[in-house]
Symmetry: C2
């Protein structure tokens, strides 16, 4: 199938256009999309440069480009609208009904979303990230009394990236503790976890998938053997049952989904919003 | 001002609805928005539950709710459309023009975006995160030959969260190295950095802001003193100039913006897309 370029235009980072656009593109299978982000279009020159890039893709003989735009300033949008492509303008579609509802004109000012307008949330995310790093892998500080959630699971079940994502995206204080032979042999959790029982949340994963992930890290030895991963996952499951720890199977989920399901299941509040 | 509840509805994580909605809400200042995410609406029961929550907010005497929806399944959307609120349906607005353009019906299947459809990108993000952790703060491994970018800056200039964000969001291999007295005294970078000169990228920050951030960590002593932060930032700047290291001032930027500007400035390719 002939290639089609999809552009994400923004006067800011492009994260909003990318997230929305990607979500829509996944609704069409079998297409051959080439994705290009053009961020920080905040001058007439940059707008004209973007038009050139879009027209180049359009004139290349491939399919007509699709252009997702989150630009807010009218003068730049006017320039870009002349580019050859299907224009899907997020502000066109939603700002007018919002203005009517709120009985207020939108500011049409760039740079409000993802901006430092909120220094407070920047600090919260940084602090939550530092917390996740200090309390990673049963690590150094074990400040579990200030944690919002403490993830439990075997090695490579996804604890660390999930904690970091919870911190960076939501400002949530997430610690994690690895389940190892010590817990499996005793069949018990250490006291410092039992006393925080209501914060515990377990991650489990399909044995074949865990094997695959562990092999990437260390191909040889027991660590990634079928027998070992099955044993560990079975023992972890027993511990989740014994202590009534809510848990999810992460096999089919992305990091975003795991994080989102944890918040949804535990009721932990986001400290900041994306 | 009277409160208005804004709902983000999704059959998945809600990240798309939140990102888009937040970006639009920032265009209206002085409003009093209460934001509520209702993710994983994947059954008629859950759809009806969401309707109840929206109607409760509508009947509370506050302003009419605004409802951002990224639901894809028609039966659930039909239920939700009956809720009392201003409905902004992302799929309604964009899927039809995309279907016409692509001459293909959209799948209307939930769970494609942020899903594990792409195990490969999950692995890439995990590996990039592990890389960032191992190569944090001049740390353990210094696998700089496989890094995409190496961030330089003084303590608390934003290096670590930026590296983690680059890893989690884009699968980019980002290392970071702190500039300290060793570099300031010699006015030089160590050889293992000079040999990777083309990967270096500097972060700088306004002295007052750095002081504020450092005080959160350690209020007393030289670390957060005006004199010390000014000295360090001045010396760091000299090093950036000496080695011709591109750099940005992060004072006014969020983590997303810093990450996005680095990619834009260096031309480093995203390994995965959000």
């Amino acid at each position: 199938m002939s290639e089609r370029t999809v552009f994400f235009l923004s006067d800011q980072t492009g994260v909003t256009a990318e997230t929305l656009g990607h979500s829509l593109l996944t609704q069409f299978s079998g297409q051959n999309f080439r994705q290009v982000t053009l961020p920080f279009i905040d001058s007439e020159d940059k707008a004209r440069e973007a038009v050139k890039k879009i027209n180049l893709a359009a004139d290349s003989g491939a399919e007509r480009p699709i252009v997702f735009s989150t630009l807010v300033q009218d003068e730049f949008r006017a320039i870009l609208r002349k580019a050859k492509g299907l224009h899907l303008d997020i502000f066109d579609a939603f700002l007018e009904p919002m203005e009517n509802e709120l009985q207020q004109k939108s500011t049409h000012e760039a740079g409000r979303a993802h901006g430092m307008s909120d220094i407070d949330s920047y600090m919260k995310r940084i602090e939550a990230t530092n917390f996740a790093l200090a309390n990673d892998d049963g690590g150094i500080t074990r400040n579990y009394e200030v944690a919002d959630v403490i993830l439990l699971g075997v090695s490579r079940s996804g604890k660390t990236p999930t904690c970091l994502y919870l911190a960076l995206q939501y400002g949530v204080y997430a610690a994690n503790f690895p389940l190892t032979d010590e817990e499996f042999d005793s069949g018990s959790l250490p006291d410092f976890l039992v006393s925080q029982k209501e914060k515990l949340f377990g991650l489990t994963i399909a044995p074949t998938r865990l094997q695959q992930i562990r092999k990437e890290r260390r191909a040889l030895g027991q660590y990634a053997s079928a027998q070992q991963v099955r044993y560990e996952l079975r023992e972890a499951e027993k511990i989740f049952k014994k202590y009534d720890v809510p848990h999810i199977n992460t096999t089919e989920f992305s990091i975003e989904e795991i994080a989102s399901r944890i918040l949804n299941s535990t009721g932990v509040e986001r400290r900041v919003r994306p």
